[in-house]
């Protein structure tokens, strides 16, 4: 006869095994990042000999050197600037369009909307080739403006889709009241619709910020001048040039990763929402 103790023991064993499995995977997720930070604090002499997790001497000057001599201060500010500019651009352009698609009437509305959605579904793997040629022709290559506009376009379709879905479900009473009070359409969009859309705007902001910060290939083909480069492209170049200085490289990588980790930990509620919203849509 199997007793209650047997079942309890069995349940506990299963739970321990499950935790072991989950913990193992969790450790592999965190370990590379911790190793990166730990290596960034070692000196070049000992980096391959000192296998300890905590360096014996903390070389914080690696960060200073990466920031100043490696130029990561400049690249960091570039990345911040591009991320802010693109996200602000997307929020304004996408919410204007999404609001119109949801609330306003004009001929060709559905065709235009379907066009944006179709763009999300059709992959064109070689589009950066054409973009390179086009930006050259417009004299926008190797300029921040060219990169910012191209990146606004990258996030546009999905942001319009998310925002339109939200506006469609939003009650219209407040907007009606504002209209009766004599508010213009633009005024309603700015004073009523946008503040109400804050939860979904948060998703749009976080997702696009991550994608701009992490973007590589467009920055690679658009920028030749070092002073315009964002972190992702600069760090790869840095590896080619300072190939032997691993602590500085690791410090640069840490500088590149840190903002993402912070934003992720603060905003992870919205990220989970966005991933699952994208999945439901698909």
């Amino acid at each position: 006869m199997k007793t209650a103790i047997y079942y309890k023991a069995k349940k506990n064993t299963i739970n321990i095994l499950i935790h072991l499995f989950l913990l193992t995977v969790a450790v592999t997720c965190i370990f590379p990042l911790l190793w990166m930070v730990s290596s960034s604090l070692k000196s070049q002499d000992v980096i391959f000999r000192d296998t300890s997790f905590l360096p014996r001497v903390f070389h914080f000057e690696n960060y200073y050197r990466a920031w100043v001599e490696g130029g990561f201060g400049r690249y960091f500010l570039n990345s911040i600037f591009y991320t802010a500019a693109v996200v602000i651009g997307i929020v304004i352009v996408a919410s204007l369009a999404a609001y119109a698609f949801s609330r306003l009437k004009f001929p060709g509305k559905n065709v235009l909307f379907i066009m944006f959605i179709a763009a999300m579904m059709i992959p064109i793997p070689g589009s950066f080739v054409a973009l390179y040629v086009l930006l050259n022709k417009l004299h926008l290559r190797d300029t921040p403006v060219g990169y910012i506009l191209a990146m606004i376009n990258v996030g546009l379709s999905s942001s319009i889709f998310l925002l339109k879905t939200f506006f469609d479900k939003m009650p219209t009473e407040l907007e009606d009241a504002a209209r009766i009070d004599g508010c213009s359409k633009l005024g309603i969009w700015w004073h009523v619709a946008l503040p109400l859309a804050k939860p979904v705007l948060a998703v749009v902001v976080v997702f696009n910020a991550l994608s701009v910060w992490n973007e590589y290939v467009l920055a690679l083909i658009i920028f030749d001048s070092r002073r315009f480069m964002p972190l992702q492209v600069a760090i790869k170049l840095f590896q080619g040039e300072f190939v032997t200085n691993y602590p500085l490289l690791m410090a640069g990588l840490t500088i590149t990763v840190l903002p993402i980790i912070i934003v992720y930990l603060l905003m992870q509620k919205y990220i989970v929402k966005g991933v699952t919203a994208g999945a439901v849509y698909g």
């Binding site: 296998t51 698609f101 980790i261 992720y264």
Partner: protein
């Protein structure tokens, strides 16, 4: 008055449509036109030579490096579909129950997906490369007395592709995990209760409830995995470095190389078109397959 109002409405979509036209539609058309030309990117575009289908013929019959890249990408995709998604699904199953630290796991598993591909590639390169005997994994294997398992993970042609696939899976599984978990949480708990009352064991209720209800989610994750993995390439730049030797090359890297290294813009576009067409066909087949399966269930 009506006309003025309509014009005003158009103003709302004008910025979006302008940006979209310039940066999406024009390049789209442009790729399709250039695919039929031979152009080095230097002479004026109007002097580009029209070559008809020559670029496409070359891709099909005279470009072994393209097909090697396709094989490599397919192999990585196969590993992502099986290993990565199985791992994601198992982790989701493990978290879809009363278990402590559920939130901790959820936060941690999604760390790799929020990192950039270039950073992930470079950090892993630092951990497993062979320069200066820096290989951390190998050192660890030596220390625990398993020297025969130490390998040149990135420079051994036989291993490099698998290393790329594993690191790619590491970066991607958290994302499948989140979608699977969201899917699992939509299954009504009453179904499990009812099954248990009827005497069904854990395995039985998994087979009869969990699995059938998760098929649509699996298909969705499958489609997204194929589309994402076939087009992945930045991770490889970070991981393997500049040496895009054949054994870890993938189609988008070929397109990039054709444009930047050999200045064959037309050929690069033709590769893009062929590859895009293949991707659309694959996702269409997967989609149809899922539809048919669901119909059979009813």
């Amino acid at each position: 008055m009506r006309i003025k109002s309509t014009l005003e409405n158009y103003l709302f979509v004008t910025p979006a449509v302008l940006i979209f036209s310039i940066f999406y539609i024009i390049p789209f058309i442009f790729v399709f036109r250039l695919g039929f030309y031979d152009w080095d990117g230097i002479v004026p575009l109007k002097d580009a030579v029209f070559v008809g289908l020559a670029n496409f013929k070359e891709i099909l019959f005279h470009d072994p490096s393209w097909w090697q890249a396709m094989r490599n990408a397919s192999w990585i995709t196969l590993i992502a579909l099986t290993f990565q998604n199985a791992l994601a699904f198992l982790l989701a199953l493990a978290c879809d129950r009363e278990i402590r630290m559920k939130n901790f796991y959820r936060v941690v598993f999604f760390i790799p997906p929020v990192l950039s591909e270039i950073v992930v590639g470079m950090v892993w390169r630092f951990i497993i490369n062979d320069i200066d005997g820096a290989n951390m994994i190998n050192r660890l294997l030596l220390q625990i007395g398993l020297p025969q398992l130490a390998h040149s993970w990135l420079s051994d042609p036989k291993l490099a592709l698998n290393t790329v696939a594993i690191v790619h899976s590491w970066k991607g599984f958290g994302w499948g995990f989140l979608i699977f978990l969201a899917g699992l949480q939509t299954i009504p708990r009453e179904l499990y209760e009812a099954a248990r009352v009827d005497g069904a064991g854990a395995w039985h209720s998994f087979r009869k409830i969990t699995f059938p209800m998760m098929v649509p989610v699996m298909v969705l994750v499958g489609i997204l995995t194929v589309l994402g993995t076939m087009q992945a390439f930045v991770l490889i730049i970070g991981l393997v470095g500049g040496e895009f030797a054949g054994h870890t090359s993938v189609p988008v890297l070929r397109i990039l190389a054709c444009m930047r290294d050999s200045s064959r813009f037309g050929y690069a576009c033709a590769q893009g078109i062929s590859f895009g067409a293949i991707l659309v066909i694959i996702s269409f087949i997967q989609y149809r397959f899922s539809k048919e399966r669901q119909l059979k269930k009813i």
